[in-house]
Symmetry: C2
Subunit: 214 residues, 2 copies
Amino acid sequence: MKVFVVGSNGQVGQHLISLLSQSQEHTVKAMVRKQEQAVAYQALGVETVIADLEGTVEELAQAAKGSDAIIFTAGSGGKTGYDKTLLIDLDGAVKTIEAAEKAGIERFIMVSALQAQHRENWHDAIKPYYVAKHYADKILELSNLNYTIIRPGGLLNESGTGKITVAENIMSGSIPREDVASVVIAALNEEHTFRRSFDLISGEEHITTALKQI
Amino acid sequence: MKVFVVGSNGQVGQHLISLLSQSQEHTVKAMVRKQEQAVAYQALGVETVIADLEGTVEELAQAAKGSDAIIFTAGSGGKTGYDKTLLIDLDGAVKTIEAAEKAGIERFIMVSALQAQHRENWHDAIKPYYVAKHYADKILELSNLNYTIIRPGGLLNESGTGKITVAENIMSGSIPREDVASVVIAALNEEHTFRRSFDLISGEEHITTALKQI
């Protein structure tokens, strides 16, 4: 599969680009926002395209064209205000969904957040962030795309273990970013994950086994 | 009809409560957030209930129970941050939609914003606000409720004229808040507005005539 990654310069995104670049099965196109980010990836031999989630659906569709799958792992992050949460995490995500429809790219994997599906479990301190993730996920579930929504727990910078727990409803937990990236890639062709949404934390099962059992 | 108003203490909301209190056809229940707001309305003989859009769907359903229609005209306003835009204008609106479903109240009128349906026409300065309105409207359109989404232009504090222009797509314009309230009330039983969304500005047609022609 040719995989288009939105949020390539983020922390999960960097693991995704690295793993996809080494993959025998997939090729990757990294969407980045800035020229210097493009130059850095190109120096590593990674195909890049410059586009902005605050741009138009048409621009995003042009950037994604020719890919077989889209991974959305972008986020405005904690350093900008909730204006950017609305513009990037919510509207940017939905524009990417609309771009996928426009470009005829059926497979779409969304990196969301643990318990984004259940309002009553949102942490007070970042409740508005969950609102944005919740509705982006909801719009994707109501689309005709072949989606997988992966909702990881607290993201760690430790090395991946390759072992996870996945289920439709996990109350709490954490997971290394590297493992999140591995799960996303393993899900690309795993039919058990098609049109499914699930929580993800570190656990005892190997990734491929775990994804076959949800 | 018994009409439940969410956002009763807002500027459009106050016109709604005033007009509905004088109506021969309807009765009103005003949802307010604070005790002092409840006391003020009760002194005018208006039935009130205290509930909070940051509360649960269950609480909102309890507050609305026994009503025949819900009008949503709440907004966090310009004085709070975009965190409240996410929590009130988007999630609060959708919680009210879910409360309507839960309480079996089919008729739902949303006061939105001119051109909230078209990203390319959002004013830069308040783009994140449009994002919130856009997705609240979208979720309502995807619901099974008998909705009307009314998207007024720039809101004025002048007296109403009773004359309007309505259409699915109006590029710009303004309208007194009092006229917005009159249109919302006229729409309650007007079948031409059922499961429809439209822009609204001041114009040349009487409200009842205009609503019959969209």
